[in-house]
């Protein structure tokens, strides 16, 4: 089981407490679709994704970005059982959505960049280390039901 120090818990809670979900969620998902264009294949029903401007102004993408970020809430509230928390979502992404689990890490990387851009120098190496540990656990939990 993943162990968290008090400091790590407060870093993660601190980042989420000050997070604007409506801003960060869409930004992270858009970035993923733009920087790693093959991920667009999962959003065929979302409308116009033909170029960066279209992606950035697509309301379906924005709404889904917010949804994904709120999904992370569950991990923040259950840091001692992220694996169990995401069991169902893992099955959903594997059996219904058929998402390549490698792409979870790419979205996590984009979220990290968006958070870094938002927090600036406050996103120091120690905070980055804790944040990446948290996302690595989330990514692992989401990939768990694939095999």
């Amino acid at each position: 089981m993943v162990e968290w120090t008090e400091k790590e818990r407060s870093i993660i809670n601190g980042i989420f407490a000050n997070l604007d979900y409506e801003d960060i969620g869409p930004k992270a998902l858009c970035r993923c679709l733009i920087v790693y264009p093959w991920t667009q294949r999962y959003f065929g029903a979302f409308g116009n994704l033909y170029n960066a401007e279209a992606i950035k102004s697509n309301p379906n993408i924005a709404a889904h970005g917010v949804k994904v970020l709120h999904g992370l809430d569950r991990a923040v509230k259950n840091m001692d059982n992220i694996k169990g928390t995401y069991a169902e979502l893992s099955v959903l992404h594997s059996e219904k959505l058929h998402v390549d689990p490698d792409n979870f890490r790419l979205l996590a990387d984009c979220l990290t960049i968006v958070i870094a851009a938002k927090l600036g120098n406050a996103f120091n190496p120690e905070m980055q280390a804790t944040w990446q540990k948290f996302l690595a656990v989330v990514v692992s939990a989401l990939g768990r039901q694939y095999h």
């Binding site: 970035r31 733009i34 920087v35 960049i113 968006v114 851009a117 190496p125 120690e126 990446q132």
Partner: protein, 140 residues
């Protein structure tokens, strides 16, 4: 060979112009050592790099960070010939540098903030991927 549009070239240069090598270099390398502690193995001669504070205050880490970012300048100036630019350095390093590339991008995101918009980020990512590839090219 990697192809670059004029727009991509100017995006890479625009990011690079805003990068303060003396600031981002040490910070990016410090991030690597702190976020991915196993990388300490490569810096056996650097003294104390075993705690966050030690890494952030280590003069050799800072100096090497600057060396690394200064070397990145060569790629910015030779975007059409990145593999050859780094052939000699690749023989020297013998290890993958993806983690360092990731931390450079994160440091730049902290400094440039919204200037590192998605399109610019995508182009910068493509550029660093070419650099990382070139640095791995002499392993086999």
């Amino acid at each position: 060979m990697v192809k670059w549009t004029d727009k991509e070239r100017s995006m890479v240069r625009a990011v690079w112009e805003k990068v303060n090598i003396d600031e981002v270099g040490p910070e990016a390398l410090a991030r690597v050592l702190i976020v991915y502690p196993w990388t300490e193995r490569y810096f056996g001669t650097f003294g104390d790099i075993f705690t966050v504070t030690a890494v952030l205050n280590n003069a050799k880490v800072a100096a090497h960070g600057k060396v690394v970012l200064t070397a990145l300048d060569a790629a910015v100036k030779n975007m059409d010939n990145i593999p050859e630019t780094y052939a000699a350095l690749s023989r020297l390093h013998y290890e993958k540098l993806q983690l360092l590339a990731d931390c450079i991008t994160i440091s730049i995101a902290c400094k440039l903030k919204s200037d590192l918009d998605p399109q610019v980020h995508a182009t910068w990512h493509k550029f660093l991927s070419a650099v990382v590839d070139a640095m791995s090219s002499q392993y086999y």
